[in-house]
């Protein structure tokens, strides 16, 4: 089956020698909502701009619906875009902003008018049609940008961090709004962001990028739980995963993690070695250990994995406990309101299935459940 959008070995090198995007291969189905996620400077925006035709492609190709658009100017690609700064033209009214792309496509006045009304109704900006952007708030301007992109029935919809400039509350409501629109229109969408919570909420699939390369592609669950690399494990999750470089030893069939510096005498019992197939060659070696706060539970001290709770942060729906493991701060996330005192001794309970181990050199995942 031929995919709708295909990126082949896409590469971008700037004249000053910096390579922002190094060999991206990606296949996207029609109607998918794909989020490209990564920290600043990872190349996600550059990739999006290459898709838009706003950056020249140094190497590689982009095929959209069977057509090679790699070197075509933006206006010949049949795309729409929501910019980070919204780029709502200040000298045109809201209605004129939405109508302009339609005018360029030589639609007749009646069609334009009804289309403007339609998208304005969907985006809830009917009241502002005759106003100028300067008279609107940031959130309203953002909706104008969405309406403008919506009005154009394009093959590919691109969004460059459209929510970053909104305040937290608006961000979540617009997030839902965008998902609703996608559900109704089924437009193939590429959405770029650095906010992993946003990515997880919106995406059909997430593409995690780091330093110009794709780290991992997968569904939200896959990216969150089946982290293929240390980077993904570090990047995803709030609060972030607890990560530690440890050395592994085997003791009576149990896999034990020891502090690599042997400064503290702490040992973490990870569970039965049989739960970690293929781990043998790492016994006696150093390895990266990652466990998410929500995957750690506590019980009364039972002699294994004993620590004391140093800080308690009640968050209403859940509680965060901070403790010291291997001399570093580890966080534990428990549901509900937990009655616990500072200094209280507990035993950490960890599900081996939720432990992630990464090779110390390649940083790639070595245990899979």
């Amino acid at each position: 089956m031929v995919s709708y959008l295909k990126l082949n070995s896409l590469k971008k090198t700037y004249p000053n020698g910096v390579t922002a995007v190094k060999d991206i291969d990606l296949e996207i189905e029609k109607g998918e909502f794909v989020v490209i996620l990564g920290p600043s400077g990872c190349g996600k925006t550059t990739t999006l701009r290459m898709l838009a035709g706003l950056e020249e492609v140094t190497n590689g190709s982009i095929i959209l619906d069977g057509r090679d658009i790699t070197h075509l100017p933006p206006r010949q690609r049949d795309i729409s875009m929501i910019f980070q700064s919204y780029a709502v033209w200040p000298h045109m009214t809201v209605a004129e902003n939405i109508a302009y792309p339609l005018k360029l496509r030589k639609m007749d006045k009646h069609t334009i008018h009804s289309k403007v009304q339609e998208v304005a109704r969907i985006c809830n900006i009917l009241d502002y049609l005759n106003r100028y952007p300067a008279q609107l708030s940031g959130g309203q301007r953002q909706r104008v940008a969405v309406a403008r992109a919506l009005a154009v029935d394009s093959k590919l919809s691109l969004m460059d961090e459209p929510l970053s400039n909104l305040d937290a509350k608006l961000r979540t409501s617009v997030r839902t709004f965008l998902k609703e629109i996608h559900r109704n229109t089924g437009a193939t969408t590429i959405f770029v962001t650095h906010d992993q919570a946003e990515a997880m909420a919106l995406a059909d699939r997430i593409v995690v990028m780091n330093e110009g390369k794709i780290e991992q592609v997968g569904s939200t669950r896959e990216i969150y739980n089946q982290c293929g690399s240390l980077f993904t494990a570090q990047f995803m999750g709030t609060p972030p995963a607890n990560i530690q470089k440890v050395s592994l030893i085997s003791n009576q069939g149990r896999l034990i993690a020891n502090d690599k510096n042997a400064e503290t005498q702490f040992s973490l019992d990870l569970g039965n070695q049989s739960a970690f197939p293929g781990i043998d060659r790492y016994i006696g070696e150093e390895i990266f250990l990652a466990i998410r706060p929500e995957n750690i539970n506590i019980s009364e001290p039972k002699g294994i994995n004993e620590t004391s709770i140093e800080i308690v942060e009640p968050q209403g729906a859940y509680t965060i406990l901070v403790t010291k493991v291997f001399g570093s701060e580890w966080k534990i996330m428990l549901e509900g309101d937990i009655d616990i005192r500072i200094g209280q001794k507990v035993s950490l309970i960890i599900d081996p299935g939720k432990i992630m181990l990464f090779d110390a050199q390649s940083k790639k995942r070595v245990n899979f459940s």
Binding site: A52, L54, P74, R75, S85, A87, P90, H91, R105, Y132
Partner: protein, 296 residues
């Protein structure tokens, strides 16, 4: 405001503005009023329009007025087109754009007196313009053109060209600053949504740049209305009259003529009036900015 009220009226910072206000009262309000009054009174101190009537009945004055308008409009149009094109070009930031910018700015640094000499040495029959054209083979050394013999419209056009050489960088730099502060995403949105380069320029860049353009052009026109030194240095007095050239003529050459002083005053009032009209047009147009929306 609250700060002021708390500190008490006499400690209010407004009092620091008093010296400036006094300065302007003495050296701007008073002279301006006296100039206006002088222009509207005849030699015996009676209110009359005699000065204006006398001036406009002189052919040289009418020519001066016409020449000034022609020069101002002509140079404004030419300079706008060239400066905008140049600014768009330089905005692309190609490899040596800084060096090119530097070179383009040099004429702006020339004082008018130096410009006058620069071009005078070029324009006379054996000057460097003809030398250059001869070395290119475009002119016969035995029969060089006497540029300074140009008159009327041709002379004004020559002056517009010389003025453009000097002044183009200062217009361009204002437009360039405006372009550099222009949010690139406005343009990119245009490209994404279907506009080609020309349409983007016409429908997006140009309208958003309007306030900057108007600012630059008004400033330019105000300076253009006051042209005189170039005309006098190249052609001498009385050959190609301009408004301020007439003033200089009355002050420097015919200083003790009967109406020299009155004429000089009256012409200054006319020049000041033209400038003030331009400024108020500017203020009205830039007030449109509120309606047009601010640059995000």
């Amino acid at each position: 405001m609250n700060r002021m009220r708390r500190a008490g009226f006499f400690k209010s910072p407004i009092w620091f503005l008093v010296p400036v206000i006094i300065y302007y009262a003495a050296f701007w309000i008073r002279p301006t009023i006296s100039v206006i009054i002088e222009s509207f009174t005849d030699k015996s101190g009676v209110f009359s329009f005699a000065n204006y009537v006398r001036l406009f009945s002189q052919k040289s004055m009418r020519t001066a007025f016409l020449n000034t308008i022609l020069f101002t409009l002509g140079s404004a149009i030419l300079q706008f087109i060239l400066a905008f094109a140049l600014a768009l070009w330089l905005n692309k930031k190609f490899r040596f754009s800084n060096l090119v910018l530097f070179i383009t700015l040099i004429p702006m640094a020339f004082p008018p007196a130096a410009v006058g000499i620069l071009w005078k040495t070029g324009l006379y029959r054996f000057g460097w313009i003809n030398s250059f054209l001869c070395s290119l083979g475009l002119m016969n050394p035995a029969n060089p053109v006497d540029w300074m013999s140009f008159r009327n419209l041709y002379a004004v056009i020559l002056l517009i060209i010389i003025d453009t050489w000097t002044v183009l960088p200062s217009v361009m730099i204002i437009l360039l600053a405006g372009l550099q502060n222009f949010n690139k995403e406005f343009e990119e949105a245009g490209w994404v949504f279907g506009a080609n380069k020309f349409q983007t320029l016409k429908d997006i860049v140009f309208p958003i740049m309007k306030p900057t353009i108007i600012t630059a052009m008004i400033l330019r026109m105000i300076a253009a209305v006051q042209v005189w030194l170039i005309a006098v240095m190249i052609f001498g007095y009385n050959v190609v009259p301009f408004l301020v050239e007439r003033i200089a003529y009355n002050v420097d050459v015919i200083t003790f003529a009967k109406y020299a002083r009155k004429d000089a005053y009256t012409i200054s009032v006319i020049v000041a009036a033209i400038v003030l009209i331009s400024v108020s047009i500017y203020l009205r147009v830039s007030g449109e900015k509120q309606k047009g929306g601010e640059i995000a």
